[in-house]
Structure formats: C-alpha cells, structure tokens
C-alpha cells in the first residue's frame, strides 16, 4: 500500500549545552491524497518538529538523525537528499507547502505580498512572469482578498493578522501543492476569523484534492475538521485513528486523560475537570519507556520494560503505543470510575452586589505632531453596565479589540473612566484620586495572562507573594508575615519550601499559582482573571481552573473571568458578558446563553467554537460570519456589529441599540428583541 507521504521512524536530535537528546523518537505517519489529517499535542510534544524534519527545515542545533520519508512519485528516501539540494527545494513549496503560526512575522516586511506569492509560483511552475502574476492574483482571490489586483502591490504590514494568514495560504496554494501543512496556522487569530480560515482551507483542499496536515493543540479543531488524527506526546506518537474512533473508542491513556481534562462548550454545569497530574517531561530527561508513564493513571510495572516507541494496531485502523491490553485498560477504567475526584465545589453566592458598573466610558485621546495636538479619540469602551454579586463569577468574552483589557483596567482603577460609576462594595471609586484609592487597592486584585511576564524576574517567590502584605501593613511582625506567606503557598497547592526561588525556576503552571497567591495575599473581595489559563498547556489548564473554583468555594470571593475561549468561560462562570468593539452585546447566565443566544454575534461566536467530539460537531449548525473585527479606530456607526451581521437592517446602521432586558436577567443589545 503506498501513500502520498509516508514518514517512517523519524528521529530528530537537538543539542543543548553539549548534550544531545531526541526531540522526536521514531515517529511514523502517512497522508493520502485529498485527506485532512490532524496532529494534536501540547507544546514540546514534537508535532512541528516532525513536519519540519520531514522537509529538512530543522535549523541548528537540531538535526535529523534517522528515519525515512517517502513522497509519491519519488523512489528515493527524501532524507537522502541534501537539505539545500535541488530535489528537496523542488518538493518544498512545490509539492509540500507550509503555513506557520505567526502571521505577523512570517511574511517579509520589505517585499510586497504580490512578489512573495509570485516568487513561489515562478519557482515551482513553468509559467512566464505575466502568467505567474495572473496566477498570483487568482490565488489572492481564492482566499477572498478583496481588490486583489490593487493589493498585489501592498506590503504585509498593510494587512491585518487574518488577512496576512490568507496571504500565506494563497502563497502556499499558488503552485498547486499536493500537501499543505498548517502549523498552528490559526492559533494566533480571533475565533471567528479562525473558523472562516479553516472553513476556507477545507473548501480549497477539497476543490483541489490537496491533502492537509493540521498541526494544533486544540482538540476541538481536529474534531471538527480532521478526518484522521495523530496524537503526540513527549516526542512520541501515542495514538492514531480516524476522527470518530479517536474520540469514541479512545485507547491510549494520554488521550483519555486529555479528554477528561478539557472543558467543553456542551458540558453540564457541574462537570468536574480531572487534571493530569505533573508536568510533561523535559526532552533531555525523557525516559526510554513511555513518556507519559509518570502522569498515567493506568500505569503498571510492565510499562517500564516497554521501550518500543512503535504503535500497534489495536482495532482496525486504530493504532496505539500503549502496552496495556484492552482488558487491562477496561479493568483499570472500571476502578477509576469509582475513584473520588471530589464533587464540584459547593459555592455560596449572596445577593449582595460586589461590583456595580454603570455607563462606564473610556476614550483614549490620539495626539499628533510636535505640539501634541489632540486629533481624535479611540473609543475603547462605551456604555458599559453590569454587576457582579459577591461570590459569583462573571465571564467576559470577546475578540481582540473588544475592550476587555480596558474594562479590567478601569475597574482596577489603573485608568480613570471618562464617565460612569464603578460602585465597589457600596462605594463609587470611578473618579477617586490616586491617594484616595489606598483603601480600595487591597480589596481587588488581578491574575494575568502571561505567567512569564507577570512575575518580576528578580524577586523571589516569597517577596512576590508577600509584597502587598508589607505595603498595606497587613501583618504585625516578621513572624506573622512568614506565617501568612506560607499559608498562601499552601492555599495554591505549592510547597512553602520553594519560596526562596525566583520566577524562572518555576514551570508555567507553578508561576500561575504564584500569581494567584499574590492576588490572594491582601484578602481581596474580587479578583479579575485576565486570560489566566490561555498561555498554559491543556493538561495544566484544568489544574488552575479547579484551583480557582476551590478558592472561590472556600473564601466566597468574586471573579471576573476574561477569556476568548468560550468553553473555559462557560465552565467556570455563572453569568457571561459578551463584548464587541467596546460595547456590551449580551449578558446572560451560562446555560441561557448557550441554549438561547439572542445576539447574532453571540450566535456566531458560539458556532465558531468547536466541541472536541466529532459526533456533536456534525449535529451543530454552522454560522460563519463574514469579515474580521474592524480596527477600533474605524468603528462602524450604529450597531458596531452591523457590517458583519447577517440580520442587519437599516435601523442597525443608524442607531446604536441599547442594552435591555428581554427576560429574567437576560440582557441584549440588539434591535431585533
């Protein structure tokens, strides 16, 4: 049986501080013409390295150390050609194209996009300059770039992120390759843009019978788009099967653990996430047996002897690298069913309002020239009204530029709002001066997105966590200080003995725990969580979500949970606020919002988020909206969403709909209701 592309026992080594280690270990995979294959794995699992190695694009200090790669129509092993050889260069870009994660940096800033696409066409076809230009413009039209003829002469920085990724796709597809590799191609984009692009890739691939290899960490995306799936972990291929089989006849313990750890949009409210304990292995310290052993709930002593990385066929077309038999797995599964993971923590909500925000508006002036003349305003947020009860979690979702961050900073009083009231604990803090905020500061704190930039690299963990105790004089003496810091460490599940270390000695998850401990240190009434888990690996996210839930159950704290991932927000929140271009579109309780979304934007947003279950996915109605989130500088008049809205009327273009209650706590800003 021959495949379009076949990779056998690929091994790639990296060299670090004089030591060599394998980044991927005997990875095999194959792709057939016209199919969409997904490779899923966490960061460091080796999914990108696999594809870059196959194309010999691994840069020093990495090196392809062994294996075979065969492409249809070429007898020889591709790895036997030199990296810069004529044959390899013909294949790269010509037969196998690749698009990368960062659209902002993946295009050359000093060359026009037309040149960059055309270069690829000329390189791999026999077309003349003229024809190549025609083909280039066709390719730009194919990826829905309006005005392709004019845009041909534009530079990459004249396009938005989503548009640049379209150009990357046009560039990759222009010479009619056999295979398109999309390496986290939509990860950096907004969810609605992501859905548009993936739909488009699927359409183009089916039309041209091109095979697509989707590399991603998002299980939902592969459930929706891939036909066959590979699961990678720690440089090993763990499991492969067709899409439905992976999700419904899951064999490998890693895949099972992953599915138990991620929140889903269609989850019932009380579902408990079961985190995967521990951390992925560091490549240089990976054992020669199964890399998942240390974190596996099914492990047995036999695993330690199993050093063969190859997968075995366990069901027809379903391969797994786990050495346990079906019976053993089933028996263990039975035991795990009865294992007590603890119930969803009981939370006590009061009717008392913790935060009441009324008509908050914040514009940023735009200055130009030497004399700093004010030439305009960025309307960051407008007419924001909502409340948060004590002990409640309010989720805030929205795409880039929707004003989530500005809103958070206004509530934290990093910014002073231009208008409106921010009533916190019965007192309006919206227009207080800096020196009058002293009493307010300890009552509210924040958890940040990036666990690497949110901790001062020069401070040790103790002083990070304890700083506000000292500043606000919340402790009497050194003894009480030490006691409080230790308590905070324990509260977030860290050993106080680690408090002498500095930030970079911790893993991402641990850093986020320290960030949470810092936020808790002043006993606040409310914490604003700004995308607290989106920078973490899937297997770590559940740990942090559970921690936040437990803390809330214990202390009755309120959260504002800001994220772009609706599934996570839905899991943790009681109510959800949807924002778009600086305005509130809809507020409703979680279940109400999911079952009965009113605003067309909310509907599109929900539809854009895939559920990691191919059967559910098939049954879902796809609503894709056109266009991208406009720049905040060019906000449309009337309803900010009107130019993308499928139900737009004349009224929407003229008049901005006000937020009003339709029924029991369900608020929406749309003229339809």
């Amino acid at each position: 049986m021959s495949h379009l592309l076949e990779v056998r026992n690929l091994v790639t080594t990296f060299r670090n501080e004089g030591k060599e280690f394998n980044a991927i270990e005997g990875v095999s995979l194959h792709v057939d013409r016209g199919e969409i294959v997904g490779i899923v794995g966490e960061s460091g699992s080796g999914k990108s390295v696999t594809m870059l190695s196959s194309l010999q694009l691994i840069a020093s200090p990495g090196r392809v150390a062994g294996g075979e790669v065969y492409l249809e129509g070429i007898e020889q092993n591709l790895l036997s050609f030199g990296s810069d050889s004529e044959q390899m260069r013909q294949i790269r870009g010509g037969r196998i194209s690749m698009i990368f994660q960062e659209p902002m940096t993946s295009l050359n800033p000093v060359l026009t996009v037309g040149y960059q696409i055309q270069e690829n066409v000329l390189l791999h076809t026999d077309l003349s300059q003229e024809e190549a230009k025609k083909r280039t413009i066709e390719a730009m039209k194919m990826v829905n770039i309006p005005d392709a003829e004019t845009r041909y002469d534009y530079y990459p920085q004249q396009f938005s992120g989503g548009m640049r990724q379209r150009i990357m796709i046009a560039m990759a597809m222009a010479p009619n390759p056999d295979i398109l590799i999309a390496d986290e191609a939509t990860t950096a984009l907004d969810v609605t843009t992501q859905a548009q692009l993936l739909e488009m890739i699927r359409r183009i691939a089916k039309e041209t019978n091109t095979a697509v290899i989707m590399i991603t960490h998002n299980l939902g995306l592969v459930a929706r788009y891939a036909e066959r799936i590979y699961v990678m972990y720690g440089g090993h291929m763990m499991e492969t099967a067709d899409c439905k089989s992976i999700f419904h006849e899951t064999r490998h313990p890693y895949t099972r653990a992953l599915l138990r750890a991620i929140p889903r949009l269609d989850d019932p409210k009380d579902r408990i996430l079961i985190p995967i304990d521990g951390l992925p292995p560091v490549p240089s310290q990976r054992p020669d047996y199964c890399p998942f052993y240390a974190r596996c709930e099914y492990r047995c002593d036999r695993c330690l002897q199993h050093t063969d990385a190859a997968m075995k066929e366990v069901l027809p077309g379903h391969w797994s690298s786990c050495c346990l038999t079906e019976e053993e797995l089933a028996a263990r599964e039975e035991e795990l069913q009865h294992k007590d993971y603890g119930a969803s923590p009981e939370r006590k909500q009061s009717d008392k309002l913790c935060l009441d925000v009324k008509d908050v508006r914040k514009y940023f002036p735009v200055y130009k020239g030497l004399l700093r003349k004010k030439v305009g305003e960025v309307k960051a947020i407008e007419d924001i009204t909502f409340f948060v009860r004590q002990g409640e979690t309010l989720g805030v979702v929205g795409e880039s530029g929707c004003g989530k961050t500005t809103l958070a900073r206004c509530i934290m009083r990093m910014y002073e709002p231009d208008e409106g009231q921010i009533i916190f604990d019965g007192e309006d803090v919206a227009h207080r001066k800096d020196n009058e905020l002293k009493a307010f500061r300890p009552k509210i704190s924040m958890i940040f997105q990036d666990p690497f930039s949110s901790l001062d690299p020069r401070q040790n963990a103790e002083s990070i966590v304890g700083e506000s105790l000292l500043i606000h004089k919340l402790v009497k003496d050194r003894g009480e200080y030490a006691q409080r810091v230790d308590d905070l460490f324990r509260k977030v599940g860290m050993d106080p003995a680690l408090k002498d270390r500095v930030a970079h000695e911790f893993s991402g998850g641990q850093r986020q725990r320290i960030g949470i401990a810092r936020a808790l240190s002043s006993n606040p009434r409310m914490i604003i969580c700004d995308e607290p888990i989106s920078a973490l690996d899937v297997s770590i996210q559940a740990q942090i979500i559970n921690l936040l839930e437990n803390i809330q159950a214990e202390t009755g704290i309120s959260y504002i949970f800001i994220a772009h991932d609706l599934a996570v927000v839905k899991h943790i929140s009681d109510r959800i606020l949807v924002m778009y271009l600086g305005r509130v579109m809809e507020i409703a309780s979680c279940d109400e919002l999911y079952e009965n979304p009113l605003h067309p934007y909310t509907q599109a947003l929900l539809s854009a988020i895939p559920v990691p279950d191919p059967v559910t996915e098939e049954g879902r109605e796809a609503i894709t909206i056109q266009g991208e989130v406009p720049s905040i500088l060019k906000r449309p008049t009337g309803c900010p969403f009107h130019n993308r809205c499928p139900q737009c009327t004349e009224l929407c273009k003229k008049e901005t709909p006000a937020l009003h209650e339709t029924r029991d706590g369900h608020m929406v800003a749309c003229h339809q209701y």
Partner: protein
C-alpha cells in the same frame, strides 16, 4: 510622507536650537575674564571697554545668545580674536578640506563594511568569519592618532613611499594630492569599515533567525536567494542609521587626522581655537559641526523612509 519629513525637519530645528543654546552657554561658562584671556591681558582700559561692549558683555546671557543667533543667521559669527578675521571667513576656508576627506572616507567604508559584514555573516563560524570579525574588533579599538603616526613612520619615514604630511587639492597638484590623502583617508576609513562590518554582520545574523526567513526556506528557495533577496534588505536597515552616525564620527576623527598630518581643516582649526581661547571661533566651529550632524541625521531618516516600507505605511 511629506508630513513625516516636515515633522522630522521641525524636530531637527528644535534640536539645533537647543544645541546652539548649549554651545553658547558652554563657552560662556569659560573660567576667567574672556576678554583678558583672549587678548592676553595686556591691553589698555580703553580697548577693554570697546571689546566689552563689542561682545555685549553688559547684557544678560539670553540677550547675548539671541544677538549671536541673529548674527549666525545673517552669516555673522563675530570676529576671530586669534586670526583677526571674520569667523565665517576663517571657517569657510577650512570646511571644504574636512568635508572632502570625511566624505571620501565615508564612501570608501560603506561598501567595504557591508561587503565584509555579509561575507562574515554568511560564512558564519568559518575561518573567513573569524578573521573578519577579529580584524574588525581590533580595528574599532585603534586610536586614530596613533594609527596616523604608525602609518607615517612606516610609509613616509621608513619606506619613503608617501609624503609625511600636508594637503593640496587635486586640481592644484593631482599626483601630490593623491599621495598626500592616502594615509589620512586610511586612518579615517579603517574605523568606519570596522564598525559597519560589525553592524552588518550582527543584523544579518539577527534577520536570519526571523520567521519570514523560515517561510522563504519553506518555499524551496536557494540559500543564496534567501540571503540576498529576503535577508539582506532587512539587515541593511539598521546599517543606514549607523552610516549617519559614522559620517559624524568621520568629522570627529578628522580632528586627530588633521592634527597628525598637518592638514588645514576644521578639526585642526577647532583645536587651535580652544588652545588660544578664541571664543567666537569655538562657538562657530561647534555650531557648524552640529548643524552638519543634524543635516546628516535628517538625511538618514529620510533615506530610511524610502528604503523601509514599514514607515511609509504607518
């Protein structure tokens, strides 16, 4: 575009205003009685009085500054006390010599520096790279005045190939002029070549790491094409900024080179002016050099806009 240039022009003028004020103040702070220092102290009370009013010493600093600035705009920078001629005339004679040498040295060092930089970045880790990097590192550290004396000792005194000092224009005596300018030019250019080499190399290496280079390689382009089409243009952008600084540096370096090779340029004039406490002349020299540097910076910025599409867009 035009707006950007106008904006930069405005900024430059502002900076120049500050420079001129600082220059004026600086020299005004000279210790002791400037009139006494200038004239050596042996003058009659009458002459003193006349000079005192001539230099507006009776008026406050700001007023004097504005009078001086007004003069500067009309081409009047006062009288040089040591040359007993108008400052403008004294400087006017010297400027072309310095400009001639500096611009020539600049024109030599830019292409050579870029060439060496590319070679060493492309052949990174090779013997050629090591040799270029090492030489460049050493050359940026050599004191120009010492280099001048060393050359003079070797080529003029020992080998007798070149005249040891002096300056004539090419149109006066072509052969002599060429022979006389070789050593000063070398002295000025070596530092420039070395620093441009270093900058080109490091910015090439930086660019090669970028994502768009990976994109270019994933298209199947030849390594050469990746480097010369995709990397080089990006890598040269920071070099442009350096070039502006280098031209200014050349003028600074001419102070030493002119001193060593006895060349009648701005550099040696400045040193003479300082030694003989010729205040108007010092002010004139510094102001002129500052104007010149500002103009170079402005040109650099404008060139940058033309070369870098990123600014054009913004």
């Amino acid at each position: 575009m035009v707006r950007y240039i106008l904006q930069r022009l405005g900024q430059t003028l502002l900076v120049l205003l500050i420079v001129s004020f600082l220059t004026y103040l600086l020299v005004d702070f000279l210790p002791g009685d400037p009139i006494a220092a200038m004239t050596g102290g042996e003058i009659s009370g009458e002459t003193y009085e006349r000079l005192f009013y001539e230099m507006n010493m009776d008026k406050p600093v700001l007023v004097r500054y504005f009078l001086w600035l007004k003069g500067a705009f009309t081409g009047d920078l006062g009288m040089s006390q040591s040359y007993h001629r108008r400052v403008v005339d004294v400087i006017g004679e010297r400027v072309p010599v310095t400009l001639y040498l500096s611009v020539l040295a600049f024109l030599i060092s830019v292409p050579l520096g870029i060439l060496f930089g590319i070679i060493s970045a492309v052949k990174r880790g090779s013997a050629a790279d090591t040799a270029v990097t090492l030489t460049a590192n050493v050359c940026t550290c050599l004191p120009q005045f010492w280099l001048g004396i060393l050359f003079m000792y070797i080529f003029a005194m020992q080998l007798g190939w070149l005249p040891s000092s002096g300056f004539v224009w090419p149109h006066e005596n072509f052969v002599l002029s060429i022979r006389q300018t070789i050593m000063p030019l070398l002295c000025l250019a070596i530092g420039g070549i070395a620093s441009i080499t270093r900058q080109t190399r490091s910015s090439m290496l930086e660019v090669i790491r970028q994502d768009y280079i990976r994109t270019a390689r994933s298209k199947g382009l030849k390594s050469k094409k990746v480097i010369y089409v995709h990397a080089l243009r990006n890598a040269l952008l920071p070099v442009i900024t350096l070039m502006g600084l280098r031209l200014g540096g050349m003028i600074g370096g001419s102070v030493f080179v002119e001193n060593v090779f006895v060349i009648p340029g701005m550099g040696s004039l400045l040193v003479n002016a300082i030694s003989s406490v010729d205040i108007p002349l010092v002010q004139g020299c510094v102001l002129l050099i500052a104007v010149f540097s500002c103009v170079i910076n402005l040109i650099t910025d404008i060139v940058y806009v033309y070369v870098d599409p990123r600014i054009k867009v913004a």
